[in-house]
Structures are given as structure tokens and as C-alpha cells.
């Protein structure tokens, strides 16, 4: 049993957001809004009530990981009250960034939803131009407790194996599956917000909902286990790793789009790897061949070492890769291995310390 608030459709929730803006409960809303060209959704911060008409709350697209832009706005404390409508993976990344002190959580209100997955921006735009409506498609799937990510051939890989599509550390969870949309307050803040909106509410037995969701969860989990085994069997030697990365063009898009690669002074943005010509001569003597630009394998290994303990499996890296590298597999599966050492799960709790920021006196004694 849990207390939930009813809305008849997701459109009603937009009216609630409008009212919240009007009543100055929030100063602004951050979410996915239609561009003027009407062919693409983009993250936007708005204080304009009419603009909420262009908002899509449940949208199968993640152009930029929202945690990144929230960090841009909220890296210092401020009074700006923002309601952020984010996907569960964006919520987890935000939790990590809060712990990394890259997001100041004061005056942030997180709304998240049970997520059916997303497609890449190019596929989304292409579909809109061909007259397809992915928004209706995902809403229809949700209505019948069908998994959009399992039905859709253009689904992002990370979504097809996502077993954390239920948000937990938000203020309001939108239970988006089934014929009725249920709003569940997850915090005191969420509770008092929803109570203030005069919605029909009550304690509801959600076991039917949980059962049907767990079917989707099991399928995704199986998929994840299967893909993990495939990846493990394919990428387990130096040669295989080099094969995996062979098309890397060193654009650093994976790093730029990763919500956890936040360092302003990343070593790969500094002149550390602008080697003097003497180094090239040295390599020519020793290795005879120098791949250019240099240090590509090192770049990926460094990213793995520096952020895999906080990887939230959002797949933003892979979506950003123009060279078709299966980056997200590498990070999510190796990330799991690393996180397991410390019994850590990124985004699970605000209290759990980041593995690389803490230690135990008695641990890892056989290193």
C-alpha cells in the first residue's frame, strides 16, 4: 500500500506544473520541450506558463544527459527553484553529482518516471520527419504494460538492458504504466506539493502494478545478463580491446557527454599529451609504429579508471559516439565489476560515500 495521487492522463500533470509556475512554487521547469521546428525535443529551462504546452514529460529521447545541464545551472547554491523532469538514469547521475558537489540540491525538485527507454536523436528526428509519433507510441506501450524498449528496433542499447528504470530518489515518481497515471510522492516535499494541488488521492494496493512491472524488469535483466556474457566473451584480451576501439577518432564526445566526467581540468584537455618531437623519435626507435593521435587506448582506460565506479549506465557516451564504438557496454559492465568491489551502486543513496572518496581501514588486504 502506498499513498498515490490520481491524474487521468499525463496532460493533466502538465496543468499541475502550469499551476505550480503560476503559484510560484517553482521559478522554472527543466524538461524536454519541442523546438520551434517541431521535429525535435530539447532540454530547456522555462518560466513561461504557456511554454509548458510544448513540454513532453514522457519522451523516449535523451538528447543531453540532464544531470550535466542541471550541474551547469546549480553548481553554486541559489534560490532559483527548479522542477526537473528527468529519466531515472539522469536522476542517478544527478545523485552522483550531488555527492561530488557538482550539483547543489537546494531548491531542486526532482520529478521522474518509470521509463520505457529512449532512441537516439537522429532516429527520433528521422521518425518525426516520416510522420511517426514516438511519444504516442511509448504512451500506448505504457498503457498496456508493454515495454517500449523491447518492442522498438531503434532503441538505445543502454535502455534495452536497463534494469534500473524505476526512479527512487526523486520527489515525485510518476507511475507511468497502466491506464491511469499515478503520482507517488517519494519525499515530504513531494507529498506537500501534491497535497497542495487538490488531487484525488488515497492509499492504493499497487501489487498488480508491481507484478506487471517486474515482468518487464525480468526481461530487461535477462537481456542485460545475456549481453554481459557476450561482451565478456568478446572483449577479454588486449587485441580484442584494440579491435573494440579501432574506429575511435578521438573526438572525446564520450567524455563530453558523460554526466560523470565533470572535471574542468581533465588531463585530456591539458597539454600533457602534446608530446615533443623527441618522444615520437623515441617511439619510432622502440615501437617503429605510432598510432595518431597518440594515447587512444590510454584515453579510454583513464576514463574507465576515473569514472567507472560512478557509471550510471545511461549510455550517453555511446549515443554520442560517431564511430559506432560500443562504449556504453564497456563502461556499464566494467563499471558493475568495479562497483561490486565496494558494494556500491551509483545513484542508490545520497548517504553512501563515493568509492574513490573514502576508504575502510580493513579492506582489500590482498592487493
Amino acid at each position: 500500500m502506498a499513498k498515490v495521487f490520481n491524474v487521468s492522463s499525463i496532460l493533466d500533470f502538465k496543468d499541475i506544473l502550469k499551476k505550480a509556475l503560476e503559484d510560484k512554487i517553482f521559478d522554472a521547469i527543466l524538461g524536454l520541450f519541442w523546438m520551434p521546428s517541431n521535429d525535435m525535443l530539447t532540454l530547456e529551462l522555462t518560466s513561461e506558463i504557456d511554454e509548458v504546452d510544448k513540454l513532453e514529460i514522457i519522451a523516449p529521447i535523451m538528447p543531453v544527459q540532464a544531470a550535466r545541464v542541471i550541474s551547469n545551472i546549480k553548481f553554486t547554491e541559489s534560490n532559483l527553484k527548479i522542477a526537473c523532469i528527468v529519466k531515472p538514469c539522469e536522476l542517478r547521475a544527478s545523485v552522483e553529482l550531488i555527492k561530488l558537489k557538482q550539483i547543489m540540491p537546494e531548491n531542486l525538485f526532482f520529478i521522474s518516471y518509470d521509463c520505457g527507454g529512449a532512441v537516439n536523436v537522429a532516429d527520433f528526428k528521422d521518425a518525426v520527419n516520416k510522420g511517426k509519433n514516438y511519444i504516442d507510441e511509448i504512451l500506448n506501450c505504457n498503457k498496456n504494460f508493454e515495454d517500449f524498449s523491447a518492442k522498438h528496433d531503434k532503441i538505445r542499447f543502454a535502455c534495452s538492458v536497463c534494469d534500473k528504470f524505476i526512479p527512487s530518489l526523486c520527489d515525485i515518481r510518476i507511475r507511468s504504466f497502466g491506464s491511469n497515471i499515478l503520482l507517488q510522492p517519494m519525499t515530504q516535499k513531494g507529498e506537500s506539493f501534491l497535497s497542495g494541488m487538490k488531487l484525488e488521492s488515497g492509499d492504493k494496493d499497487l501489487s498488480e502494478y508491481e507484478n506487471r512491472i517486474s515482468t518487464i524488469l525480468d526481461a530487461r535483466r535477462n537481456n542485460r545478463n545475456k549481453e554481459r556474457e557476450i561482451f565478456r566473451s568478446q572483449v577479454n584480451s588486449i587485441d580484442a580491446v584494440l579491435k573494440e576501439l579501432s574506429s575511435c577518432i578521438r573526438c572525446h564526445n564520450c567524455m563530453t557527454n558523460c554526466p560523470l566526467d565533470y572535471c574542468k581540468e581533465c588531463i585530456f584537455k591539458t597539454p600533457v599529451f602534446d608530446h615533443p618531437v623527441e618522444n615520437y623519435e623515441l617511439w619510432l626507435n622502440r615501437k617503429r609504429v605510432v598510432k595518431l593521435p597518440t594515447d587512444t587506448l590510454l584515453f579510454h582506460l583513464t576514463r574507465l579508471n576515473h569514472m567507472s565506479s560512478s557509471c550510471v549506465s545511461c549510455g550517453a557516451c555511446e549515443s554520442a559516439c560517431p564511430a559506432g564504438i560500443r562504449v556504453s557496454r564497456m563502461f556499464m559492465f566494467l563499471g558493475e565489476d568495479v562497483q561490486k568491489i565496494f558494494d556500491y551502486e551509483p545513484g542508490r543513496s545520497l548517504q553512501e560515500e563515493l568509492p574513490v572518496a573514502t576508504f575502510r581501514e580493513k579492506e582489500l588486504e590482498k592487493i
Binding site: R288, E363, I367
Partner: protein, 140 residues
């Protein structure tokens, strides 16, 4: 492979292992010359990017030396180093690299003998393991 002499890059903490290495020298304790020492202020200051760079450049072994747990000059640097090395080793292992080329050892300023023994042991271990295959690999 008989005349293979492994090259070890040592990242040694100033307060313990580096001083221990110094002691080995002043006490005239003999140990193999295969180690090239980089003096760090703390093992907690060793960014794994440099450890990996050394490996990819062909170093046969990496020795990270720090103070014994609880003895860190900066309270907890060595504990953090231990976590970073654990992460590095996990990643190397899963990707099929030779994680046994990376050693993390606690050697105090008074343990000149232990330092000499560690290097001797490591050289023997690396001779058995053979040269780092990445040494001649250019397309990385």
C-alpha cells in the same frame, strides 16, 4: 629470453618507501638495478593514468610503494591509493591485461631490507612473466 632484464617503474612515497630505498642504499644492501624510481609526496598522489601510461609504454612492472596502513604522513593517502589500485587491477583483469605487473607494497622508512627484497622478488617474478607485450605495440 635469458638476458631479459625487466624495467620497473617505481612510484615511491617520499616519507616511507623512498626513504626505505635510501636506507637500502646507505646500508649497502644489494638489489637488482631494474627499478627506475619516481619520488612522489604520497602514494595517494599517484594518478592511475601515469601507471597505465608506463604500462602502455612498455614498463614490465610498476611498483607503487607507500607507508603501512595507519602510518600515512597525510593520514589516509595510502588507503585511497589502495582503492585506486584495486579499481585499476579489476579493469586490467577484465580486459585481459596482465594485472600482476602492478604491485602495491607498504614499505616503511626503516625497511631498507624489505625494499631490496621486494625489488629482487619483483624482478624474479617479471623474468618469469616475460617482457610486457605492449612494449612493441605501436597501434594503441
Amino acid at each position: 629470453m635469458e638476458d631479459f632484464e625487466p624495467k620497473i617503474v617505481g612510484f615511491l612515497c617520499n616519507w616511507c618507501t623512498y626513504t626505505g630505498a635510501d636506507l637500502a642504499g646507505t646500508a649497502r644492501i644489494q638489489y637488482p638495478q631494474n627499478i627506475r624510481v619516481i619520488r612522489m609526496m604520497c602514494s595517494g598522489g599517484v594518478d592511475m593514468v601515469y601507471v597505465m601510461k608506463a604500462l602502455l609504454e612498455g614498463a614490465d612492472g610498476i611498483l607503487i610503494g607507500g607507508c603501512h596502513p595507519g602510518d600515512c604522513h597525510y593520514q589516509s593517502g595510502n588507503f585511497k591509493a589502495r582503492r585506486r589500485v584495486a579499481i585499476l587491477k579489476k579493469i586490467l583483469e577484465e580486459l585481459g591485461f596482465e594485472k600482476e605487473r602492478v604491485w602495491l607494497k607498504w614499505i616503511s622508512a626503516s625497511e631498507g631490507k624489505k625494499f631490496a627484497n621486494t625489488v629482487t622478488e619483483m624482478v624474479a617474478h617479471l623474468k618469469k612473466l616475460g617482457p610486457n607485450p605492449l612494449k612493441t605495440l605501436g597501434k594503441i
